[in-house]
């Protein structure tokens, strides 16, 4: 069971590495960056509207 789980883990890691690479290729990183460098007022709860 442990061996099978680890195999699944290794497969997930390989797929995840591919996903990261593809995400960088299609420039998702710019969206992440643009969101992260501005103070997200709604994220920190500033605002009147629920």
């Amino acid at each position: 069971m442990v061996g099978k789980r680890k195999t699944i883990g290794i497969i997930i890691i390989a797929i995840a590495a591919g996903m990261v690479g593809y995400g960088i290729f299609r420039d998702e990183i710019t969206d992440v960056f643009n969101k992260a460098i501005r103070i997200c007022l709604e994220c920190i709860g500033i605002g009147w509207i629920l």
Binding site: M1, V2, G3, R5, K6, I8, G9, I10, I12, I13, I15, A16, A17, G18, M19, V20, G21, Y22, G23, I24, R26, E28, I29, T30, D31, V32, F33, K35, A36, I37, R38, I39, C40, L41, E42, C43, I44, G45, I46, G47, W48, I49, L50
Partner: protein, 288 residues
């Protein structure tokens, strides 16, 4: 003690942009393109990386993409190697709750049906991190970061609080939303004093993902069935009430390792292993 040092170093490094605290601004360097493994608000003045949950919502809610290969890939990569070790050893918000738990007041444990509260984090992940950012969009087609907006106490405590201290003018814009978020943050702080890491156990969507990954991560807790005498000391020691000798891959286990220190026979171990170790089994089996 070693774990506390690593937690502290991780929290300090993750939030090492000191000018942000002084000026009420946030770091805008290239490192912000990278998600940190733990829950750490990217609107915290000191944050030098991005929060994976905030980033996931940002990309899902953007008009350009409806799926985030990059952020989800990073979360799966971190979880695939370490599972909830990340929660136990490097998550800054986990450390914050643990420090609150050190305040000497009467402690409680989740018992009986109350333990089912740990399932709440899964619908929170589904609804607030995925469904609402994807499908509830404004006129510009942008989804709302619902978890950050309505729930996340890390955003209130790590982001709003220091920014408001540095720039009290922000208080003028703190309305109903802030009241809601501040109430949740105050509740989390209060409960953290009596219950070990309540946010991680009940609400954290990142903990939900890493918890599932505990089953398959390369880093595993393992119980030697030949050595274990089922004395139950590990369960008594566990602040998360995990019966590690029955379920070493429990989704609730944050891999703090306290069970290893109290095991009288040294039956519990943990390490990153790429191959199965023959004499160790993931689950204890009765021999009589």
């Amino acid at each position: 003690m070693r774990r506390k040092i690593i937690q502290a170093v991780s929290a300090i490094v993750s939030n090492s942009y000191i000018p942000g605290f002084l000026k009420g601004t946030i770091y805008q360097g290239k490192l912000k393109s990278i998600c940190v493994p733990g829950l750490n608000c990217y609107s915290c003045p000191g944050a030098i990386g991005s929060c994976p949950i905030g980033s996931l919502q940002a990309v899902l809610g953007s008009w350009k993409y409806r799926f985030s290969y990059y952020v989800l890939g990073l979360i799966l990569l971190f979880g695939g190697f370490l599972g909830r070790w990340i929660c136990g050893w490097i998550c800054p918000f986990g450390l914050f709750q643990e420090l609150l738990y050190k305040i000497p007041v009467k402690k409680i444990k989740l018992k009986g049906n109350w333990r089912k509260l740990s399932w709440v984090k899964y619908p929170v992940l589904l609804m607030f991190v995925i469904i609402l950012p994807l499908f509830v969009v404004n006129i510009a087609g942008l989804g709302s970061p619902a978890f950050c907006k309505y729930i996340c106490p890390a955003g209130t405590l790590e982001g709003a609080l220091p920014l408001m201290i540095a720039d009290p003018g922000l208080l003028d814009n703190a309305g109903a939303l802030f009241v809601l978020k501040a109430s949740i943050a105050i509740a989390v702080v209060a409960v953290s004093m009596v219950l070990f890491r309540p946010f991680c156990r009940i609400l954290c969507p990142l903990g939900a993902i890493y918890g599932w990954m505990n089953k398959v991560s390369l880093y595993q807790m393992e119980v030697d069935t030949g050595k274990c005498i089922e004395c139950g000391r590990c369960t008594l020691q566990c602040k998360l009430d995990v019966e590690i000798y029955k379920n070493p891959a429990s989704a609730e286990c944050i891999r703090c390792g306290e069970c290893k220190t109290v095991c009288p026979t040294g039956a519990i171990s943990s390490e990153i292993r790429f191959r199965k170790k023959e004499e160790v089994h993931g689950r204890i089996e009765r021999t009589n």
